[in-house]
Symmetry: C2
Subunit: 583 residues, 2 copies
């Protein structure tokens, strides 16, 4: 219990969360290492006790936690093989990230002006996380910092066989005592990781140069549609409802969690899932499809108000949004793992499917080996042009979305802060004058004073309407843009895979000359990069079509509510007006 530990990075406690502020180099005493969820309880030299992220300290037993933070870059270092040269985009971002100091994501997250391409380039590989205060769910964009959550993958060995999650350390989902979650709207965790033994080389060359696509595997077809290459869409659109959050307990009531019902429109049969199951699904989808399809992060994991209705409602709403987006994706929704999540029959079925999904080796860039475009091969120059175009577009849209989020956030603040206060003061001033008039002792005062009081109350009502309105309209506009910010944040990684592949193909002649590859390899690479390009185009077309639907829908909703809002105010004022008389 008297274990000393060294603080590796500055950590600033967030108020009200039992956290302890520590500084780099400080020595602290571990008072409870079994807190779970990536946190330990510690005491500083001033005797203050609080929670500190495990990753921020060097535990006496060794640098396990440290290793985790530094892992992505370090893991590549000892294996500087030929192929690593092609992993440039992913590697570069890792280095940018490191060079940013202790909080590599701060620039990205603080980029609310949507300005420099620098931020776009600094897009990190790892999980971007933030903890937002409940009343301003988008505040996190400017305040996130690295945190202790390590992702369920790191805990697979502990979690895999547990259905009931009795081990406290496995509470990475909703069960953990103190947990900071990845912010919705940040980038996906790059799928080019080396967690699986078969994929220690993380570049697209794994696919470009693989002997031949495995046989008998499921195929993902790309057709030529009116708008260009498109995924094969199912006849009936998969959909699901996330509903009915229930609080459950375990460990004889010592721990509690929230379980959601997920009801797909195919079976109409509800299945139960906890947040960590969603997170598990996210990890599987990311591994499997992340190189071709941007898989947006799950909504924030969040501790504050974990059992408060507001928070549960918000998380459910965002899980619903995430699931809807996954359902809408023809490739994702058709995958075994996604179907398992939605339609598993019983615990045994779930467990079996879970193990199978985790053993799936057809992940990372190998997804492209499943893709079959029904169209002629593309010229590498055209591939590059397309890729650049998508890169520019997603970058520009990312800027635009962030700009709108910034403006919206300020508007939200004004609407819930100074503006209603001002209407309230106007209302009070009218009522105050009315009560002075009442004291005049003059006959025939009542008509005016009643009308003035009523006008005053009307402005107080308007004040309240103004303050409540953002939840009715701006909220959805913000949520939609926040979702898109998350989605767009995944594109640099996806596009990076393509750029790396294009670079590889460009070097084809030199590599042949240097006998690094055969001429046949070069031909194969060009063909395969064409396949990748078709996939990217299909994905972009999927993105565009969804975007057009989503923005139409959210703008309709926003403007509809705005119209109602102004009409209601006008109606209230009309009522107030009718009470005055100069007869």
């Amino acid at each position: 219990m008297a274990n000393k530990a060294q603080v590796l990075y500055d950590f600033t406690a967030e108020p009200g969360n039992n956290e302890l502020t520590v500084r780099e180099g400080e020595t602290i005493t571990i008072t409870n290492q079994g807190v779970g969820g990536g946190w330990i309880e510690a005491q500083n030299s001033r005797g203050e006790v609080g929670l500190v992220p495990e990753d921020y300290i060097e535990l006496p037993g060794g640098g396990r936690n440290v290793e985790h933070v530094a892992a992505p870059a370090a893991a590549h270092a000892p294996d500087l093989s030929f192929f690593d040269a092609f992993a440039a985009p992913a590697n570069n971002t890792t280095q940018n990230q490191a060079s940013n100091g202790k909080d590599p994501w701060s620039v990205w997250n603080q980029d609310t002006t949507g300005g420099s391409s620098n931020n776009w380039a600094a897009q990190p590989e790892g999980t971007i996380t933030g903890k937002s205060a409940a009343p301003d769910p988008w505040g996190s964009t400017a305040q996130s910092h690295p945190q202790a959550y390590q992702g369920p993958g790191a805990e697979d060995d502990e979690w895999d066989d547990e259905w009931d999650d009795v081990k406290s350390n496995s509470e990475s989902g909703d069960g953990g005592a103190i947990q900071r979650g990845g912010a919705t709207g940040s980038s996906m965790k790059i799928s080019l990781n080396n967690r699986f033994p078969g994929f220690s080389k993380s570049g697209p060359e794994l696919f470009l140069l693989c002997k031949q696509p495995p046989k008998g595997k499921e195929k993902i077809t790309i057709y030529m549609g009116e708008v260009g290459p498109v995924w094969s869409y199912p006849e009936a659109q998969l959909d699901c409802v996330v509903a009915d959050p229930k609080k459950g307990t375990k460990m004889y009531g010592l721990k509690s969690y929230i379980e959601y019902q997920v009801i797909p429109n195919t079976t109409n049969r509800p299945v139960n899932h906890r947040y960590k199951h969603f997170d598990w699904l996210y990890e599987r989808l990311l591994d499997k499809f992340g190189s071709a399809i941007p898989i947006p992060s799950l909504p924030d994991k969040q501790v504050t108000g974990r059992f408060e209705e507001e928070f549960i409602k918000m998380r459910m709403e965002r899980l619903q949004g995430w699931m809807t987006r996954m359902c809408r994706h023809p490739v994702v929704s058709n995958s075994d793992v996604f179907q398992l999540f939605l339609t598993y029959k019983d615990e045994k079925d779930w467990k079996t499917g879970k193990r199978k999904a985790e053993k799936d080796e057809d992940v990372g860039v190998m997804i492209f080996s499943s893709i079959e475009p029904e169209a002629p091969d593309l010229d590498p120059i055209e591939v590059e042009q397309k890729c650049d175009q998508f890169s520019r577009f997603t970058k520009a849209m990312d800027d635009g979305v962030k700009d709108l989020l910034t403006v919206g956030q300020e508007h939200w603040k004004r609407c819930t802060g100074p503006l209603p206060k001002e209407y309230q003061r106007i209302g009070k001033a009218f009522q105050n004058l009315s009560s002075v008039f009442t004291s005049s002792g003059y006959q025939g005062e009542a008509t005016l004073t009643d009308a003035m009081t009523s006008a005053g109350k009307t402005y107080e009502e308007i004040a309240q309407m103004v303050a409540e309105q953002p939840r009715k309209d701006l909220h959805f506009l913000m949520e939609n843009n926040n979702e898109y910010k998350g989605l767009l944040g995944c594109f640099p990684d996806t596009i990076g895979v393509h750029k790396a592949a294009i670079e590889k193909v460009k070097e084809g002649d030199r590599l042949v000359a240097a006998s690094k590859i055969t001429p046949q390899d070069k031909v194969t690479m060009a063909k395969r990069v064409s396949t990748m390009s078709y996939a990217l185009q299909a994905e972009m077309n999927h993105f565009h079509s969804n975007r057009i639907y989503d923005y139409n829908r959210v703008m309709q909703l926003y403007l509809e509510e705005q119209v109602k809002f102004y009409e209601t105010i006008a109606e209230k004022l009309k009522q107030a007006h009718s009470q005055f008389t100069t007869m």
Copy 2:
């Protein structure tokens, strides 16, 4: 030209007005003493040249200007007779004013919280002045400072015989080159001054103890109405239109001025008046009625933008408001001097009437000698109670009005500043996103982008509407309350006269015992204070009835425009909404 002068008080130049900032004790060089309008041009030791108020400096020829500032208090000091004890309220305020230092009105004017009775007590005798920036006509409430304008009374000898005002020094009205005017909404100049030889004793005792009311003079009757004592109202309400401002020139075009047409509804014949004629009328009404009837100050004299349309329109609007209020007053509107102003036949008629009015000795407290209440004498205790009640009411209303003005001013600022900027940014963000979407290269983009652009433009239109709206509604609410602030600012002086009279009557027994007055004097005093009380009650009832009308009217107007405003926004947004589609 190389005349040196000593600066008596700090003076801070207002930007853009050719003024020179000077500090107390500084020596400056007079470069032009003939600027007129109470200003001189001077140069400081740093060589900077600009205008400084005459009153702020000691001219080489002697302390004439200084004397004027200090005059009201000093004039009383050498004559501490018995009667002066009764002049307490007026005298006290003079002393409060002096004790406040260089800017005795700052407290009064800065009282925007409507809080302490201290400010109410500190109501000064003199002219309260301020210069407001054109776009925010109420800004003056927090920024006024003493200034050079001395009131036309001080210039009577120069002005009296001049119709065409050729002397530059007489340009106290609209003709002066640089002129700061008394702020509308500040107190009236007390009428208990000693400018006229017959009224060197300034207390109400002049009336209370005068031998007997002059015979054959016009009578002002007070009836008992439903609401209590009321003035005798004419059958037809006098009214007038102030219109058609015209720029005239004189001195062979060297000087210019604005002349307004005033058209009374009785003759329907326009007469021409310059601002300084209104000011002359104001002085006459103040002298004659000020002890019984609050005579609100004229609108600001103002130089900035003197010939700009905006300013002329605003001044005309306020002159109209002032004239309407005077027309509505049965006593004021019926007076010879007011009738002269509205209906003089020609220059000769005007001159004759002007001289007659200026020689009128029936001014100050002697107005009460004309008043004949048709009701039994009031008990002095009741008189005091009424007086206190009115004092409390006017004080409370003054607070309420100032509160509303403060709130309104902040709302004005928000509506013309940050709020439209925010709507504009929302509009820009939508349009920006729309133009990003346009660059997608995706087919079927146009419907969304057109709709987004249109929604963006709608928010830009809303921004403009928000910015322009205050001129359409808040403006009138502010003007009305500003007018009432001015009117209410006159009440402490009027009520002070009554309080002094009540105190005098209270001391009746003691004064009789000390043989200062006869027992008959005491009876006369009680009777006369009863007359004064009837006058005050009639005036309060007049005030209340006008107030009820005015506030009903202005609230109707305000709410009507607000309704239109919100309805228009709703309509615009409905239009924008209709362009989005999720079909």
